[in-house]
Amino acid sequence: MQFMLLFSRQGKLRLQKWYVPLSDKEKKKITRELVQTVLARKPKMCSFLEWRDLKIVYKRYASLYFCCAIEDQDNELITLEIIHRYVELLDKYFGSVCELDIIFNFEKAYFILDEFLLGGEVQETSKKNVLKAIEQADLLQEVSKFNFSGQSISMVGCESKKFLFL
């Protein structure tokens, strides 16, 4: 995998992970182009598209789009399930994850991703093992994070409170 982007329906980038060296300028250009391309697609369309010399695999969960760029010989369907497994991991960790969790705990979203994918390849597919690693870290951290699904903090943007798994 060359990179993964998470962005909202409004086109706001929520998380970016690059597994190939690119300049900031190039990253911004790619992001702009892809967000536009993916948001323009209709709901029932296929989850894969050719883009430059890469394959784009994307899926929408509630208000968030998860979008991966893979190489020609990579497997599209398993990439789709990489996305799903990542969403499951977020959901399990945050407890009914919503976009706000990812905004306010973006560093956690990165940590979970690093346990699951490293250098663009799957490192650990077992949900238990990934969460165990994160929870161990949390114990060391001795603090916990915000959890928006259980709290009433006034936030703008009604979309982002939707759970990714409805």
């Binding site: 050719e50 010989q73 599209e76 369907l77 399930e81 973006f106 490293l118 093992n129 951290q141 001795e142």
Partner: protein, 958 residues
């Protein structure tokens, strides 16, 4: 947990929910209150940003925060770890919003050496996201990483490895590429650290392969495929796959390990692998990776391993037919991910017809699946199946479904795949249908893919044209339907083909003339029309409806609407008309003389008008006829359109059966491309030495944009003509026989008689003048690549007469290329120039050898080195008649050995190739498969190049 798809709108909370997180037992200091969070300040800041009503307000808030952080970092008071962490985290957030961050790196580096995990972790995250190749900093970062790697604390080691994998810079590779393999294979390394180390190494190998040393560790890495921990196996498989692509020998042992691992996974019950089972599919990620690894290698040589792999692939195919264990899309996706990867492997091996056909049937089912994703992938995967000789026919049976997809799919990316597949499955039998459907689709196709479809149609029409009138019609249709998308390459090509094929010239002239009648026609049509009428307008001038004047007026009526390059082309057409149709010379001169031409602001147009007008005024008819003579044939070469499509789609994506065959039979194939004959001789030809004149590279330079017509003025007399069309077919006919007609056109017939003994041969070439006019300056020249001795022939050949030339041949060493015979002469004032390949092939120096079954097999075994054997599996091109096959093998020169092969349907032969320096023993075996209409030909000789060449030559015969 009930995990419904994203499209479900019901706002139902899941019942089995993770327990709400309770505040941790303590805090890191700083913030506080609320839910007992980590960094309250950060949360407040994020809320502030989200509450900003405008972009300006957001920027203002950010600038305020940046100023605040800067002052804190610069302040006199030393910041505690928590504050540093908080501010670094804020900077990270600002960066992720898309703003530039130019400070804070030092503070982040400081966090790396904190003892608190939480601070260290944020430090690493900042470094990972905001890599900066500031060398000063990199040294500090590397230092911190080194300490963490040495800490033996698996959590710290993990963080350090993640950081290396995320940054992956060259400096990091220099510092750690030697260290990480040790961590990876050390016995006491924790599993999770091994996983990180494997992928970390993979990332470093990708950025700086030269810095990752291969060594003892490689064999131990391969054995990680046997590890008990499936997470370790998963990470290791990725690493091994990448390494094996570059160093296949070093990682060869991974094949059998990967097969046995895969076998254990696919045969396991769905609960065996516990948490590695994903929606009832056992270890789908690992399975995909193992199948991917196996695609770095040919089919396993060990029959046991090969058998086990075949079983695995069959099991995967079988499972696809079983009812789903779950209705969830995750189940079917994971299952099909493995299935598609298995099919990729089957296609990669391209050796098991049974599996290939099963794969094709499976994909056929997916073509009609209700899931768009599966239809997309099936179309994509079938494209590669179409290029396998075994499954090409099976793919073709789905043509109607694919055409239907082109018409009904709602998603353009799926339709694109359907176009690709139609292109891939096209052959002579269905070309007309496929081209018609593509043209049909082109009328409504999305703009984004029109140019590509145009290229594909143009290529197919050319490649499979039996009837060139169809080709001309197709290209003109392309221009009519999608003129804007017809690139120069396409219309150049149609002109090249019309010029090279005299049977279609009249038709082309008539057709473009008719097409130009349309009141609004595309400029590309004007270009093609102008060019073709300028060359061949005379062929339709007899019809009063297309008299010279009418042709001229028709073209000239378009003139003023066209761009400068097209007008320049039309001016050249006009001067050609002056030669073709003297009766309208004055009309044309009047046009050229008009102010709008002679004083045109465009210098190219003005120059052409002036020069053409002058030429038409002062040149005699004879000079005009010579200067404005019909264009000589273009050299045959790879279609420029194909080159363009390849460029557009990237190399390796445009494949078709012929190209693959070509690749397989290696580039030594002398009969593959006429252009290869014109290029420098292959190394093997050099071996023949002895007075071999270098082959002149004589192809005229490729005509570039706008210069096509200028070629009229270039002198082509000294050039060697490209090979005459059809000469390859004729050449192949002589492989198994020595006498016959080698070449024939309206003027000349070339006959051959030849005999060979050991390494010597003699060939009589008969040149027959079929006309009633003398040939003058008749000069046949052999372009030597063998030791040939020829006697000169008389430079005049009377009408109806035949002259004979004797060629003495000596085979000095084994060779690939056949000599070229170039013939130049003048006939009725025109210069003629043609080239044919002389059918002197390596097998001519074969002496048959009889031997017993026992001898045969003994020698067969002696030649078992893989380099000595060359095998080719190919489809029968002729009816599979045993008697004809026998005759051909004998004609090829080897002895036909009866009752040697245990299977009486097979043919075996033996012989010796004689060259001046050596003798090379050759054994051959031909196994026909009547059911599949295929042959397998195996050649074993002591010399690889000889096996290769003989195999190529003989494969063409059946």
């Amino acid at each position: 947990a009930d995990l419904r798809g994203p499209t479900s709108r019901q706002p139902v909370r899941r019942t089995a929910q993770a327990p709400a997180r309770t505040p941790g037992p303590g805090r890191g200091g700083g913030g506080g209150g609320g839910g007992g969070d980590g960094m309250r300040g950060l949360a407040v800041f994020i809320s502030d940003i989200r509450n900003c009503k405008s972009k300006e307000a957001e920027i203002k808030r950010i600038n305020k925060e940046l100023a605040n952080i800067r002052s804190k970092f610069k302040g006199d008071k030393a910041l505690d770890g928590y504050s540093k962490k908080k501010y670094v985290c804020k900077l990270l957030f600002i960066f992720l919003l898309g703003h530039d961050i130019d400070f804070g790196h030092m503070e982040a580096v400081n966090l790396l050496s904190s003892n608190r995990y939480t601070e260290k972790q944020i430090g690493y995250l900042f470094i990972s996201v905001l890599v900066n190749s500031n060398s000063e900093l990199i040294r500090l970062i590397n230092n911190a990483i080194k300490n963490d790697l040495a800490s033996r604390n698996p959590t710290f080691m993990g963080l350090a490895l993640h950081c290396i994998a995320n940054v992956g810079s060259r400096e990091m590779a220099e510092a750690f590429a030697g260290e990480i393999p040790k961590i990876l294979v050390a016995g006491d390394t924790m599993d999770s650290v091994k996983q990180s180390a494997a992928l970390c190494l993979l990332r470093l190998y990708r950025t700086s392969p030269d810095l990752v040393p291969m060594g003892d560790w490689t064999s131990r890495v391969v054995h990680l495929l046997n590890d008990q921990h499936l997470g370790v196996v998963t990470a290791a498989t990725s690493l091994i796959t990448t390494l094996a692509q570059k160093n296949p020998e070093e990682f060869k042992t991974s094949v059998s390990l990967a097969v046995s691992r895969l076998s254990r996974i696919v045969t396991s019950a769905s609960t065996d692998l516990q948490d590695y089972t994903y929606y009832f599919v056992p270890a789908p990620w690992l399975s995909v990776k193992l199948l991917r690894l196996l695609q770095c290698y040919p089919p396993p040589e060990d029959p046991a391993v090969r058998g086990r792999l075949t079983e695995c692939l069959e099991t995967i195919l079988n499972k696809a037919q079983e009812p789903p264990k779950s209705k969830k899309v995750q189940h079917s996706n994971a299952k099909n991910a493995v299935l598609f990867e298995a099919i990729s492997l089957i296609i990669h091996h391209d050796s098991e017809p049974n599996l290939l056909v099963r794969a094709c049937n499976q994909l056929g089912q997916f073509l009609q699946h209700r899931e768009t994703n599966l239809r997309y992938l099936a179309l994509e995967s079938m494209c590669t199946l179409a290029s396998s000789e075994f499954s090409h026919e099976a793919v073709k049976t789905h043509i109607e479904t694919v055409i239907n997809a082109l018409k009904t799919e709602r998603d353009v990316s799926v339709r694109q795949r359907a176009v690709d597949l139609l292109y891939a499955m096209c052959d002579r039998s269905n070309a007309q249908q496929i081209v018609a459907e593509m043209l049909n689709y082109l009328e409504t196709a999305d703009y984004s893919i029109r140019e590509e479809i145009v290229l594909k149609v143009a290529i197919l029409a050319e490649k499979y044209a039996v009837d060139y009138t169809w080709y001309v019609d197709t290209i003109l249709n392309l221009i009519r339907i999608a003129g804007d998308y017809v690139s120069e390459e396409v219309w150049y090509r149609v002109i090249q083909i019309v010029i090279n094929r005299d049977d279609v010239q009249g038709y082309a002239a008539k057709t473009v003339f008719e097409a130009l009648q349309a009141p609004a026609c595309h400029e590309n049509l004007v270009k093609v029309g102008g060019y073709i009428l300028g060359e061949f307008g005379n062929l339709i001038a007899g019809d009063p409806r297309s008299s010279p004047l009418i042709q001229f007026n028709l073209l000239h009526s378009k003139f003023h609407l066209c761009s400068v390059p097209t007008r320049a082309l039309l001016l050249s057409t006009y001067i050609k008309f002056v030669n073709l149709f003297p009766e309208i010379k004055t009309t044309i001169q009047d046009v050229l003389r008009s102010d709008s031409q002679l004083k045109n602001a465009d210098v190219e147009l003005q120059q052409r008008a002036v020069e053409y007008l002058r030429l038409s005024t002062i040149a005699s008819t004879d000079i005009l006829a010579t200067v404005l003579e019909e264009m000589p044939p273009f050299p045959e070469r790879e279609s420029s359109i194909l080159a363009k499509l390849k460029k557009k789609k990237g190399p390796g994506t445009v494949t078709d059966l012929e190209e693959i065959k070509k690749e397989r039979s290696s580039d030594m194939n002398g009969s593959a491309e006429p252009t290869s004959v014109n290029s420098t001789p292959s190394p093997s030809a050099d071996l023949l030495g002895l007075g071999a004149a270098p082959l002149t590279n004589s192809a005229p330079p490729p005509s570039s944009s706008g210069s096509l017509l200028v070629d009229v003025f270039s002198d082509s007399a000294s050039a060697v003509a490209p090979l005459a069309p059809g000469s390859d077919d004729n050449f192949a006919r002589f492989v198994c026989k020595n006498n016959g007609v080698l070449f024939e056109n309206q003027l000349l017939q070339i006959g051959l008689k030849s005999e060979f003994r050991q390494n010597l041969g003699r060939m009589f070439i008969f040149y027959g003048n079929k006309t009633s006019t003398q040939f003058l300056n008749f000069t046949p020249t052999q372009f030597l690549c063998l030791n040939l001795q020829t006697k000169p022939v008389d430079p005049t050949v009377d009408g109806g007469a035949q002259v004979q030339q004797v060629v003495n041949i000596e085979c000095v060493s084994d060779f690939m290329e056949a000599p070229i015979l170039n013939i130049q002469f003048r006939y009725g004032g025109t210069f003629q120039n043609l080239s044919v390949k002389l059918p002197i092939t390596l097998n001519k120096f074969f002496q048959p050898t009889e031997m017993s079954s026992q001898d045969f097999f003994q020698r067969w075994k002696q030649l078992s080195n893989p380099k000595q054997e060359v095998q080719n599996i190919f489809k029968a091109k002729h009816p599979m008649d045993a008697e004809i096959t026998k005759a051909k093998i004998i004609g090829f020169g080897s002895a036909l050995l009866e009752e040697v092969d245990p299977n009486p349907a097979n043919f075996v032969g033996a012989g010796i190739i004689h060259t001046k320096t050596t003798q090379i023993g050759c054994l051959l075996r031909l196994e026909p498969n009547l059911q599949a209409q295929m042959y397998r030909l195996t050649l074993r000789t002591s010399k690889e190049a000889v096996s290769q060449r003989l195999c190529e030559l003989l494969s063409e015969q059946f």
